[in-house]
Amino acid sequence: MSEYDRAITVFSPDGHLFQVEYAQEAVKKGSTAVGIRGKDIVVLGVEKKSVAKLQEERTVRKICALDDHVCMAFAGLTADARIVINRARVECQSHRLTVEDPVTVEYITRHIATLKQRYTQSNGRRPFGISALIVGFDYDGTPRLYQTDPSGTYHYIALHANAIGRSAKTVREFLEKNYTEESIATDNEAIKLAIKALLEVVQSGGKNIELAVIRRNQSLKLLESKEIETLVTEIEKEKEEEAEKKKQKKST
């Protein structure tokens, strides 16, 4: 096994591309990111790693706008992500220049995925160690959520929500259990669902969550920590009320 993972372009005897699989391991070490597709809003939430005291918080940004109507969050190697994001941004403008239309979310996802695949099939290069959640609104107003991974495959997330990174499995299970039509009925509910999902795996609550939303025909908005705190307190109150109700039911 160890002989077949040095040069990336080589398959192993049992059909594995080990470098790509190792890249996926790198992604699993990255901080969790969750994406929710509502009716008129798309939400991206990431777990913010606690920052050293002497470090300026704002310089670590894991949610990035690619264009006025598309943005992405990633899990994995931040430096690799910077390159991918830069290429995607250039492609968004290039598309506007040649075709006079903004990119569709699917188009830019496909572009990023193709870029990633190219790096799994050329010599001397290693794959990008990131998975990305790409959200946005298409020209006709439909909200979309896509996911890419280091191998260059991309998926359309038909069921409104997905998670990547460390503890992605836990978050995904939570979303599968708690996602209903009502949970994304309003913009606020969709945002709260993202926070609830992240609270499952994030250690110290609201302080370690970074949240961004895009509403139809508006550009990316990063929520301030105050807003996130308010929503977290709301969620915790709701949880308490639920627990109270259950207690009462048991006692009667």
């Binding site: 830069n86 941004r89 403008q93 290039s94 506007r96 220049l97």
Partner: protein, 214 residues
Amino acid sequence: MGWIEILDRAEVVTDKHHIRGSTGGGEIRRAPNLVPLRITCLPNDQDKMFKLSDKILLLCVGEAGDTVQFAEYIQKNIQLYKMRNGYELSPKAAANFTRKNLADYLRSRTPYHVNLLLAGFDETDGPGLYYMDHLSALAKAPFAAHGYGAYLTLSILDRYYRPDLTRDEAVDLLKKCIEELNKRFILNLPSFSVRLIDKEGIHDLEKLMPVGAK
């Protein structure tokens, strides 16, 4: 009195001749006192102003095709800067970026033959107007004009411009220029679209249509 009907691609000449038009089946009759030649109407619905960002406008005139190509290229690059850095380029930086691009292309096989006016509002420096020509000269100016109309309007602007003009006075000055063109310029220019940039952004003002122009 006679009348003259101009047909597709048929040129009408002096009143002494009787010509039957071949296309369309019309007739050309005599018309004394009238010696028209080709009458062409240039398109009047082209917007030559390109929005580079929320507070910057680029007015691009010159070679057909070059104008749109160059202006859109600059426009998309300014947007790319915004995406990459999270904030928009200042008007001064945008003007210099545009000039550099124009200069680079000037000594290539494919120079852009365009004359530009870049107008923008900066938070710290206030409003700014930049004059750029096809040889890539850049100058920040209080007022500027390109084309043959400049020969007429620059003197008006020179006479009546003051650095402390209010918004309404500035629009009036623009109207004075247009009146002058209406009087003395050979081409009939029926309508002018007007835009204003202030700290709130770009605003469309109502079209100016000089009286007597059709």
